[in-house]
């Protein structure tokens, strides 16, 4: 499918004199995940609000599945699922009743609604809690129910606004699994997050938002290349070996460094082919290595570098 499922062109959103979004353009192809990264107040929720027809852009164009969100909001609503930043479920109802409610509002018969509710409760491991009131759910259970609620109508595009904030690692991983499964089935996802690992795991491409502007975008790989903090580190068995290895590595054109009396030598490299070079040099020096590691830069490095460069 060629039409991008999400398309923003020069979108701005002003609240009085605050520009929550300041000329944002981005594109999300069908069946992919866009990770929207940004610190507090970057404009992530504002962007999701515009795409899900809750708010109007001040200027610019936004389309979901080719449909303009300003001109045909009712058409957009037929195609999307929204999981907002704060779990939006009815506290007084049970999980089952919440899903039933959504399904009925979408036109399902009682029987269809009940079977859809059970299916989704199962998918999110909420079957045991199905008939308990949501106000007695844990934060993670509530979040899962919230995501389930936005999937009832089988949307083409789903918006997830910080879906795993406040979840423990197990719950987070379980949610990631569900998102990955949805994407495999052809759903397009826009996900905002503060967790770089999350974007790294889930997103096909990443857009970094800062003060309403796009400051970087690309695949995780591209962003890492831009910052380029790749390194190789070797662990030696003693101080003597360390000096031998360091000298050999310097002769090979590398610049190893180590902590005062540490046994780990770390050196920046251009790419993973440098590993062979490191092994050759230490081998020729007759040093027996206790360990060897090639380190990719983390998205944390990218994130920090970008946010430092824009003066924060």
């Amino acid at each position: 499918m060629d039409t991008p499922m999400i398309e923003l062109t020069d979108v701005t959103k002003a609240f009085g004199s605050t520009k929550a979004l300041d000329g944002v353009s981005l594109t999300v192809p069908h069946g992919t995940v866009l990770g929207l990264l940004g610190h507090n107040g970057a404009g992530k929720t504002t962007l999701v609000g515009i795409l899900s027809t809750l708010a109007l852009p001040t200027s610019g164009q936004a389309r979901v599945a080719g449909v303009d969100v300003v001109r045909h909001p009712e058409e957009v609503r037929r195609r999307i699922g929204l999981t907002g930043q704060y779990a939006a479920v009815d506290e007084t109802l049970s999980g089952h009743a919440n899903l039933l409610l959504i399904a009925r509002l979408l036109g399902a018969t009682r029987a269809q609604a009940a079977s859809r509710a059970e299916e989704l409760l199962e998918l999110f491991s909420l079957t045991d809690a199905a008939h308990r009131a949501v106000k007695n759910y844990s934060g993670g259970m509530r979040r899962r129910l919230d995501l389930a609620a936005s999937l009832v109508g089988d949307p083409d595009v789903i918006f997830l606004d910080e879906p795993t904030t406040g979840l423990d690692p197990t719950a987070r991983r379980a949610l990631w699994d569900v998102v990955q499964r949805l994407v495999r089935e052809g759903t397009t996802v826009l996900l905002t997050t503060q967790y770089l690992e999350e974007a790294d795991v889930l997103a096909d491409s990443i857009t970094v938002l800062s003060a309403g502007r796009v400051v970087a975008s690309g695949t995780a790989e591209e962003l890492k290349n831009r910052i380029g903090h790749r390194s190789v580190s070797v662990t030696v068995r003693g101080a003597d070996d360390r000096e031998l290895a360091a000298a050999a590595l310097r002769r090979a054109g590398l610049s190893p460094a180590h902590e005062d009396d540490g046994l780990v030598l770390t050196m920046p490299v251009r790419d993973s082919t440098a590993v062979a070079q490191v092994v050759r040099a230490t081998d020729e020096a007759g040093v027996d290595l206790a360990g060897l590691a090639f380190c990719e830069p983390s998205l944390d490095d990218v994130y920090m570098a970008l946010n430092h460069s824009d003066g924060r």
């Binding site: 001109r71 506290e91 007084t92 009743a97 509002l105 936005s150």
Partner: protein, 279 residues
């Protein structure tokens, strides 16, 4: 001649209506599902009891404190104070009921469930109409409970009989329904329950105490009396009271009901509009 698909150059491709998995629900279904949701609160005693107990408690206090009013000259002769007071209580209860609709709406706007509904393929108005219906039904139940309690415990038994009292309940419920729309329109505007509560409190105070709810207008000091005589609440109370006491004035009743309908006609579209915009 056969018409083919419109391919006018330049026109935006008409968005193909995406078939919904479940075909979508009509407005009536939306409203009934949404009001059903709000009515489920009825199963939760903690949410229902205060609404029932508060007026009964107030009734106890007022009927004791103001008993002496029925001995004053402005008071209609031969009417017991409880018979005089209860219809006013039905009407005042409706102000609280209306306020409750607005507060519930702001609460849900803040906890995100309203955002979920707004991003769904349903009408914005359905959410408000659903709430209005649920709250009106709940108000009706509260009023009937109050009526029964008054009759059983306080010896309420005005000359209008059961029919007259039911007429008073009808006036009160219609009033509560219309005030519900006023407060829902306000809530879409102020957005925060903390902000709506005090507004409601003030409206309540002004409309009530400067009216003929507790004492006849003639018994109030000059300036207060002037206000009480033009206070729309006084008309509603008079309408309800005359019905209960068995001397209904068709004109007052019709004027009250008519005003309520006008209020809803004006505020409901306003509420839906500002509610759609508020995020």
């Amino acid at each position: 001649m056969t018409l083919t698909t419109d391919q006018t150059a330049g026109a935006p491709a008409p968005a193909l209506t995406r078939p919904l998995r479940y075909g979508g629900a009509g407005v009536l279904r939306q409203v009934s599902v949404l009001s059903g949701r709000s009515l489920r609160a009825l199963r939760e005693p903690a949410l229902v009891l205060p609404g029932v107990l508060e007026p009964i408690l107030m009734l106890t206090v007022f009927s004791q404190v103001f008993k002496s009013v029925s001995q004053t000259s402005a008071f209609p002769a031969g009417v017991s104070y409880i018979d005089y007071l209860l219809p006013a209580f039905l009407v005042t209860g409706s102000i609280s009921a209306g306020l409750k609709s607005g507060v519930a709406l702001t609460t849900e706007m803040n906890n995100g469930i309203i955002a979920r509904f707004k991003a769904m393929p349903i009408h914005t108005g359905s959410v408000l109409v659903g709430r209005s219906i649920a709250d009106t039904v709940l108000n009706c139940v509260n009023m009937l409970v109050m009526l029964a309690a008054a009759a059983l415990v306080f010896g309420y038994g005005p000359d209008g009989g059961v029919l007259g009292s039911l007429g008073a309940v009808l006036v009160a419920v219609v009033l509560g329904w219309s005030l519900g729309w006023v407060f829902m329109a306000l809530s879409a505007w102020v957005r925060k329950p903390e902000a709506l509560q005090p507004i409601g409190g003030i409206v309540n105070m002004v409309l009530l105490f400067a009216s003929n709810a507790f004492v006849p207008a003639e018994g109030l000091p000059g300036w207060l009396r002037a206000f009480a005589e033009v206070n729309p609440m006084s008309y509603a109370i008079t309408a309800a009271r005359d019905l209960a006491l068995g001397e209904p004035s068709t004109a007052t009743v019709l004027a009250t009901l008519g005003t309520c309908v006008v209020i809803v006609t004006v505020t409901a579209p306003l509420a839906v509009r500002s509610f759609r915009r508020a995020t």
